[in-house]
């Protein structure tokens, strides 16, 4: 066997409770040994990783990819390359493409385009309902068999409690996991930011906390009744965390994620009408942000990207008229690391939320230990640089890191033992 030898890396792997400096030997896509030379075989390449961290690859539970349907916003290659640059080895693509990912043909198309691009692995999410219209069930089993890892309706509403109940019952029959967004459109429609003092002052229509919590109560009660495997996507309110914790205490197996932006920012960012911070779910209060941080710290909440690249024109408009969403893949890990350097999260808690928990939710193994597939990131924690447009791989320059100085940089990404970038 011919080995890749990674020398002197600090291996940080919360899944195996490892934090140690050691050499890693990789062959045939997997880690063969850690800390000792393999008995036989030769070294093909040695990477000096002194001062670098070797982390399990990040897994995104939901990002918007522009293909098929939105060529002005980017390509499969630009966005999956950006994902690698941010530390991701795997990303779940949301089904709100054009056409919607509600047929096996679209799922296959996404998989083919992603494979051809050759960067981060794309795990497609299929649509729960046809055309995401919330009325008629999509061919769930067909989508699942075609490779969808779970089904989502993004933030589009399900028509009523009846449809949601039947949808869950049907999915439960075949043990198909659902990624559910809690968004009561009758309360959120027309709103473009968190309803609170900032919205009042800016005169912007608000989205109340109850738009999320009422929909979440409906989801939790029906999930409990139907026994479906449910994951709550893109939680933004502290109150939602308490509701999910309650449900878990009743014995429900329920997971959840929050977008990174909701951990980094609050509605105060909207002061000055910066359309970059027009995102869905909205950035909420500092108390909400603190509750989300606490849930991540406790290991109860995963962090997703909610990556949404836009062309310049989509954002260059008055705040409420701008398209919502933020480009997040590039610099994702250094941006998330700012929570560690600010003392808000431990490094272990962060890696747990961006890699270990998402892997568990998707039923994958993602770990830097012997005999694991080598899906990992070499991260330089010290280098500091100012992010310019040239540093972005994503076509979406609606990125909050632009112009700011960031510490840390992804140096190499390995997927199944292959160095991708």
């Amino acid at each position: 066997m011919r080995y890749l030898h990674i020398q002197n890396a600090r291996i940080i792997d919360p899944a195996s409770q490892t934090d140690t400096i050691a050499d890693v030997f990789v062959a045939n896509g997997a880690i063969r040994t850690i800390g000792r030379r393999p008995d036989a075989g030769e070294i093909e390449e040695t990477i000096d990783a002194t001062g670098l961290w070797l982390l399990p690859g990040l897994i995104d539970l939901g990002g918007h990819l522009p293909e098929p349907g939105f060529p002005q916003k980017g390509t499969m290659a630009s966005e999956t390359k950006a994902a690698c640059a941010g530390g991701f080895t795997h990303i779940c693509s949301l089904p709100d493409t054009k056409p919607v990912a509600d047929t096996s043909a679209v799922i296959k198309l996404i998989e083919e385009k992603a494979a051809k691009a050759g960067y981060a692995r794309v795990l497609p999410l299929g649509a729960m309902t046809q055309g995401l219209a919330g009325e008629q069930l999509a061919n769930m089993v067909t989508l699942f068999e075609a490779g969808a890892v779970a089904l989502s309706n993004v933030r589009q509403p399900i028509r009523d409690s009846y449809v949601l109940r039947r949808l869950m019952e049907y999915a439960a029959t075949y043990d198909i996991p659902l990624f559910l967004n809690a968004n009561d459109l009758s309360l959120s429609d027309g709103g473009c930011m968190h309803e609170g003092p900032v919205a009042t002052r800016m005169g912007l229509p608000g989205i109340p906390e109850t738009a999320e919590t009422i929909a979440l109560a409906q989801i939790l009660l029906l999930a409990e009744q139907t026994g479906v495997r449910a994951h709550i996507s893109q939680v933004s309110c502290g109150r939602s965390i308490r509701m999910i914790t309650d449900a878990r205490q009743r014995g429900m197996r329920i997971s959840a994620d929050t977008p990174l932006a909701n951990l980094l920012y609050t509605d105060a960012q909207v002061t000055g009408y910066n359309s970059l911070y027009n995102v869905q779910p909205p950035l909420r209060s500092e108390a909400d942000r603190q509750a989300l941080i606490a849930a991540v710290a406790a290991g109860d909440l995963a962090i997703s990207s909610n990556h949404r690249p836009h062309e310049i024109a989509a954002k260059k408009a008055p705040f409420s008229d701008a398209e919502s969403g933020m480009s997040q893949y590039d610099c994702f890990l250094p941006m998330a690391m700012t929570l560690v350097s600010a003392g808000e999260l431990s490094l272990d808690a962060l890696i747990n939320a961006v890699s270990v928990l998402p892997a568990q939710i998707l039923g994958m193994a993602q770990s830097v230990q012997e005999n694991s597939a080598f899906n990992a990131v070499l991260f330089d924690p010290e280098t500091e640089r100012t992010i310019t447009a040239r540093d972005l791989n994503s076509r979406g320059h609606n990125h909050p890191a632009l112009g700011r100085s960031l510490k840390g940089q992804v140096q190499r990404v390995f997927i199944d033992g292959q160095q991708i970038c």
Binding site: L204, Y273, A314, A322, E323
Partner: protein, 329 residues
């Protein structure tokens, strides 16, 4: 991205755009009122024009219809001797920001000096001033629910002329505060100019959350809210509020909050009654009060021209100083 209050000022604190009353100093607001006062005297002369904006081109850009506000800006510009172009632009929802920006860049290329902007989106005037045409003076003629600073300043002028001063006065704003850009601009101006108390009165559905954070005290009852008031400002109620489940009916609103002589009696006997217009008689206010001797509603209209002349002259001068200094540099 900067706070709206900062975008409108030059480095030495002069007005170069007029976007909001928030964050402006008491001195600057007073300067606007003093300048407007001086224009009121010119308005009473046979020849009403002054040459302050001679040779300048002002474009009225109304993305939302408003005959009244547009006409007062037009008159104000003409009385400052500016050339004025009126554009009513129906808003295209599908093309996002593009149409807006293309329109503005085209007008800028025609050497326009000032845009008076009315737009349905909060922050639109700020967006234009900061990101589209920063070298054109922008006067906000109303953006979404955010601000309507010239209306607020003409209201301040009205109070100052009829009650001598704003300092120490108790002012109540009644009705649909939630959707009102006028109320937001009034609250900031009143607070800065030293009003003793700013109250907002209306049902819970029409008072925005956390209005206390802006320095206004909410009341749900006219008797309590109007007690000891020096100034009562009624807001216009839009018909669509009934369809949006914010109110049951006009008649119930009138019963609870419509300004009648009986309700006005809760305020101080010398209280003045104001309304930004156009008024819905029998909805916000009964005719006896609207046309009564405590009403200063028509005076507000006259002062509107003087206030708009004042801010146009001040912003143009601030913007011009900036352009001159850039050229010299």
């Amino acid at each position: 991205m900067t706070d709206p209050s900062k975008v409108q000022l030059t480095e030495d604190g002069r007005l170069k755009h007029f976007l909001t009353t928030e964050g402006l100093s008491k001195d600057l607001l007073t300067e606007i009122l003093d300048t407007a006062d001086s224009f009121i005297s010119t308005q009473e002369r046979a020849v009403k024009t002054v040459p302050l904006l001679r040779g300048k081109t002002v474009v009225n850009l109304f993305f939302e219809n408003s005959t009244r506000t547009r006409s007062t800006f037009e008159l104000a510009a003409k009385r400052l001797s500016a050339d004025i172009l009126n554009l009513d632009i129906a808003r295209s929802a599908t093309s996002k920001g593009e149409t807006l920006m293309d329109t503005l860049w085209n007008l800028e290329a025609m050497y326009s000096d000032m845009f008076v902007v009315r737009h349905a989106d909060s922050g639109a005037a700020h967006f234009i001033a900061e990101q589209v045409t920063p070298n054109v003076a922008i006067i906000n003629a109303g953006d979404g629910r955010h601000a309507h600073p010239t209306q607020a300043m003409l209201d301040m002028l009205t109070i100052r002329r009829h009650k001598d001063s704003i300092e120490g006065k108790v002012v109540a704003i009644v009705g649909d505060i939630l959707h009102s850009r006028v109320a937001r601009s009034q609250i900031y101006a009143l607070r800065t100019l030293g009003a003793a108390e700013v109250r907002v009165i209306g049902p819970g559905t029409l008072l925005p959350r956390d209005i206390e954070g802006m320095g206004a005290k909410p009341f749900y009852d006219m008797k309590q809210g109007l007690a000891d008031c020096d100034v009562v400002i009624m807001l216009r109620l839009q018909k669509e509020r009934m369809q949006n489940a914010l109110l049951p009916s006009e008649s119930e609103f009138f019963k609870l909050y419509g300004l009648t002589e009986e309700k006005l009696a809760f305020a101080r006997p010398d209280a003045i009654v104001m309304h930004p217009g156009p008024i819905n008689r029998g909805v916000e206010i009964e005719s006896a009060v609207a046309d009564g001797n405590q009403s200063v509603i028509l005076n507000q209209v006259s002062y509107g021209i003087a206030v708009r002349m004042a801010v146009m002259a001040m912003a143009m001068s601030g913007q011009q100083t900036l352009i001159n200094s850039e050229e010299n540099a």
